[in-house]
Structures are given as C-alpha cells and as structure tokens.
C-alpha cells in the first residue's frame, strides 16, 4: 500500500496501524469463514466411526489368503506357509528399497496382515504373482515379497501394516 505524502507527516503511524489492524482482522475473519468449507471435505463422523474390523482366523488354511474391508480399504489376511516365512526372513536387508525385517511386520509369523493397497498409486496387488512369490501390482508393475515388502518397481514403500491385535488365538481386531 502506498500512502499519500500529505498524510505522511502527521498521523501516518495511526493510519498505518489502522490499516494493518483492520486488514489483519479481516484476514483472520476470512480464514475462519473459509475453514468450515475446507474442513467439510475431511472424513465425516460416520466414516470415522467405521474404524475397526474384526476377523475370525479359523478356516483360513495355511497358504491361503482372505481379503477383508477395513475403513473401505482391502486388508490381506495371509496364512503363510513355512516356506513363505523362510523366504521372508532369509533376505539381506541391504537389498530392500524400504528395509524392514520380517519380524517387525508380523505379530505371529504365520499371520501376515497388511493393507492391500499398492504404495505407488493405490491399486490392489494380485497374490501369488511377481518375481518374489508375494504380490504383484498390475497397474504399474510393483513386485512385493512374501512379507509384503517392495522389491522391484515404482512403489516407494512396503505394503502398510495396519494396527491390529489378537483378541484370542483365532480372532484379530484391525484398527
């Protein structure tokens, strides 16, 4: 803002203060008024309420996998074979784009529970495909191993492990 010269001699400070105070308050008021319009796009209360999913593990045979829905997303529940576990543990961490030991990705080694969404651009990877015996994303060609770790392709991170706990030997609660 430019001020005119006659006003500059007397009252310039008072005027400046009024401009800044009025402008500042106006900006804060505008931001406060805009906020609800931005915030309404975030997840609503009913969406947030669907935040946990319980899964009965009984009946998921060794070597098979089920997909359950948690927060609208697919979650893979994989009953891993001994061979799967061995392959997952027997990996040099230095070879991994996103190094993480298999032990950090499971509570019980035979149960691998992870969000079935490719960390590249959100497609659902296919099980039993790809070069590492785990999953393969058909959209842009990311390969995941038997621990769901990214091994090859454009995805930057391992498949996400959701927060979950064992309620008893055969039941888990995701979320």
């Amino acid at each position: 803002m430019t001020t005119t010269t006659p006003e500059e001699e007397n009252g310039v400070k008072r005027r400046d203060f009024l401009y800044i105070a009025a402008g500042g308050l106006g900006a804060v008021g505008t931001a406060a008024a805009i906020w609800p319009f931005i915030s309404q796009m975030n997840p609503s209360a009913d969406v947030l309420a669907l935040s946990t999913t319980e899964v009965d593990l009984e009946g998921i045979e060794t070597g098979s996998e089920v997909t359950v829905v948690w927060q609208g997303k697919p979650v893979f529940v994989r009953h891993r074979t001994e061979e799967d576990i061995e392959r997952a543990e027997d990996v040099d961490l230095a070879d991994l784009p996103d190094p993480q030991p298999d032990a950090d990705r499971v509570i019980k080694p035979e149960w691998l529970i992870m969000v079935g969404i490719c960390t590249h651009l959100g497609c659902v990877p296919l099980k039993g495909q790809g070069d590492y015996g785990g999953w393969f994303c058909p959209c842009h060609g990311s390969h995941y191993d038997t621990s769901g770790r990214i091994r090859k392709g454009p995805a930057p991170l391992n498949l996400v492990i959701p927060p979950y706990e064992f309620l008893d030997d055969n039941n888990i609660k995701i979320g």
């Binding site: 796009m41 997840p43 829905v69 609208g72 997303k73 994303c137 959209c139 060609g141 454009p154 930057p156």
Partner: protein, 412 residues
C-alpha cells in the same frame, strides 16, 4: 464502424447496458486477418463443444444419481429407459473426446504459428488454464458412471497427490472424504463436475477478451497493418466457421452413431469393485501422453512432478521461444522440429496406452526426454541460430503473391 441500433427497444437497452454493441463488435465487425486458414476454426469448434457438453450434461444430471449404490444403475437407466438417454449420454461421452481433439489441434496450431508470442502471452496462459480445467472436469466426469475404470482411475489419480512430501496423505484423505475412494468422493466429484464447466465459460470469456484486444494471429504471423489486411468477422468467418462445424459434426456423428464406445473402455461397464483392480488400467486417450510421462520415471514423486511439469513448461513457452518470427512458415528448422514434436506427442499417447513393460518402458523414456528437450533446449537454441526466411511486408502482400486463383478468391 460504431454500432448504432435502429430498433428503438435495442437502442433503449443499449443506452443503459451496451451489451448488444459489445456482441456486435465481437461477433460482427471484429476486424479479422483475411488470410486465416481452417486451422483457425478449432477455437470456435471448441466453443461449440463446450456448449454441447454443458447442455447434454445438464439434462443427464436430471436422470443421474450420485451414490455408490445407484450411480452405475442410474447410468444404465439413462441408456435403456430415458427417452433418447442413449443419445444424450453418448453425445456427452464422445463429446468430451471431441472437445479434446479440437483443443489439442487448437494448441498445436498456436505452437506452429507462434500464437503465444508477445503480445499474446496472457491469451496463451488463459488457454492453458482452460485446458487444465478441462482435464479436471473430464477426469471427474469419467468417475461418475462408477464402473471399474471410474473407480480405479479415481484411485490412481487422487493418489498422485500422495506423492507430496509430509502432507500428501492428509491431502489424499481430504480429497476422498474418507480412507478410500467412496461415496463422499463420488458426491463431491459430481458437484465439481457440474461447477467447473461454468468456470471454463468464465475463462473462455477472458480468453476471447484477450484475443480481441490484440486481434487474431494469422498464418504469416505478421500483424494487421491497415484496413486492406482485415475483413469483418461476419459474414466471412461466421460462414467459414459454420462450414468447418458442419464437417466436424459429420466426424463427431460417425463416432456417436457408429462407434460410440470406441474411445471408451469395456471395463467401465463392470460396476466398481474396491477390492479388485482390473488387470490393465488406462486413462482416457486424451490423458495418455501425460500418463506415459508419469510412468517413464521409476520414482513416485519424480513421476508426478514430471507429469505436472509437462504442462507447466507450456506456460513458459512465450519466453523459451527466442525467435521473434511467429509463423513456422518462415522458420525452416523450427518447422521440422515442430513436426518431430507432434510425432513425439503421438508416440507418448501410444506408449501411455500400453502396459509398462519391456520396450515400451524404454520408448516411453526416450519420448519423455525428447518432450522436455524440445521445449527446454531446442526451442530456445533454434530461435538464436536459425536464419528465417524473409517475411512479407503485410498480410495483403502475402495473399496477393499467391497464384491467381486464390487472388481472385481474395478479391471477391
């Protein structure tokens, strides 16, 4: 040439709101270069397509239901039950492709004839803003039928924003209104898909305003010098544009009536399933060059940045092109580079539609690199080293130096 209405009612209105005079000036007496070729028809065709999309879109919205459980069925209801619903929907779906075809030709026209150069930089920018808004609108529109391609297209494209460091995930959740693409996403996309075309109308008005401020460019790239160089827009170009429109509508109708799903994808006739990704997902054809650039980079953030960068560099074109000659007709080297660039864009479109494997990856990378090399390196260098052909003194001189047949036509 000022507007003086004879009708007393028009005069009464004109004295209070000079809108008739403004339209008269813009669509009737607007002095237009007399040598415009049919490449200049695509601007008005784009305007026609915008109107077609808005009119068909408004009536489709009368029958469509933006809910995950009903969207797909309501589109089938439009196709099977609503009177002429099949026609209106196919018009709208193919109309989007037609809109992009004419806009891409319009953009290439601007690049060939240097229409973006001073004093038309803002005109060029406004055009690019329209292009960006068109892409956003088309993307959200494609989500509405809630088929498999709709759902997974929405998932992949919104996930692009997840590549932003730190706040990416929060932004994606905010865009979705949940933790995955779901009903809130569909609802807001419908709302915005309805809104954005009207924003485009606003920018189009600015685009035309900027165009009429400095006048149209022309195939010589030489500015209007005197009255001999121009003819009034009406009837000369209204008729020429109408003829172009008639030919274009035949082309449009060929797709509309004989191959309405040619540019679509069969997977979008399968209802959306959030648990199964189709084996081969591709965006609509008009996004393929940018999709190819995205996939050319083996890094998530890098791919996203390069894809947006491919459009961002177009904004810098008026300053990257160092040549003061507008038209490629007088730029022997640029003319060839232009056609190589067109071929490169076609190659990117082709690669974008192929799976990311084997030789397609290599070619995708070569084509991506060339896209940026052309704009960022070749364009500035050619302008500095190229020896242009002599420019005609005026549009009239250029027109009159042509063979007698065209001379007669020009004098008629």
């Amino acid at each position: 040439m000022s507007f003086e209405p004879k009708n007393p009612v028009v005069k009464w209105v004109e004295d209070r709101l000079p809108i008739t005079g403004m339209l008269h000036h813009a669509l009737y007496e607007y002095p237009t270069p007399k040598n415009l070729s049919y490449w200049w028809t695509f601007g008005s065709l784009a305007g026609v397509m915008l109107v077609v999309q808005i009119v068909t879109g408004i009536v489709l919205a009368m029958h469509y239901t933006p809910h995950v459980d009903m969207a797909f069925t309501s589109v089938e209801h439009i196709m099977r039950d609503v009177n002429y619903g099949w026609l209106l929907r196919y018009m709208h779906a193919n109309g989007a492709s037609m809109f992009f075809i004419v806009v891409y030709l319009h953009i290439f026209r601007g690049m060939y004839y240097g229409s973006y150069k001073a004093p038309r930089e803002l005109l060029w920018w406004l055009g690019l803003v329209i292009f960006l808004l068109m892409m956003a609108t088309a993307f959200m529109g494609y989500v509405l039928p809630w088929g498999q391609m709709s759902f997974w297209g929405a998932t992949v494209i919104t996930n692009l924003f997840g590549a932003i460091p730190v706040v990416g995930d929060s932004i994606v959740t905010w865009l979705w209104g949940g933790f995955a693409v779901d009903n809130p996403t569909l609802n807001r996309f419908f709302s915005l898909h309805y809104l954005l075309p009207f924003v485009i109308v606003g920018i189009v008005i600015l685009h035309i305003w900027a165009l009429h401020t400095n006048g149209s460019n022309n195939p010589t790239g030489v500015e209007l010098k005197d009255k001999q160089d121009s003819i009034p827009f009406h009837p000369y170009y209204t008729v020429k544009d109408l003829y172009g429109l008639a030919i274009f509508l035949i082309f449009f109708s060929a797709f509309l009536f004989y191959a309405p799903n040619y540019m679509g994808h069969p997977d979008n006739y399968i209802p959306a399933n959030p648990l199964v990704t189709p084996a081969h997902i591709v965006p609509e054809w008009y996004f393929l060059p940018f999709y190819a650039i995205l996939r050319a980079v083996p890094d998530k953030l890098g791919g996203v940045l390069l894809m947006f960068g491919a459009i961002a560099v177009l904004f810098a074109l008026p300053w990257l092109d160092k040549s003061r000659i507008r038209s490629a007709r007088f730029r022997p080297i640029y003319k060839q580079l232009f056609w190589v660039f067109v071929l490169d864009c076609i190659l990117l479109t082709y690669i974008g539609g192929k799976p990311a494997e084997g030789a397609y990856i290599i070619w995708g990378r070569i084509a991506t690199v060339y896209y940026f090399v052309h704009i960022l390196i070749l364009l500035p260098l050619v302008g500095l080293f190229e020896k242009p052909k002599p420019l005609p003194a005026s549009i009239s001189e250029d027109v009159l130096s042509k063979k007698p047949a065209s001379e007669e036509a020009a004098n008629a």
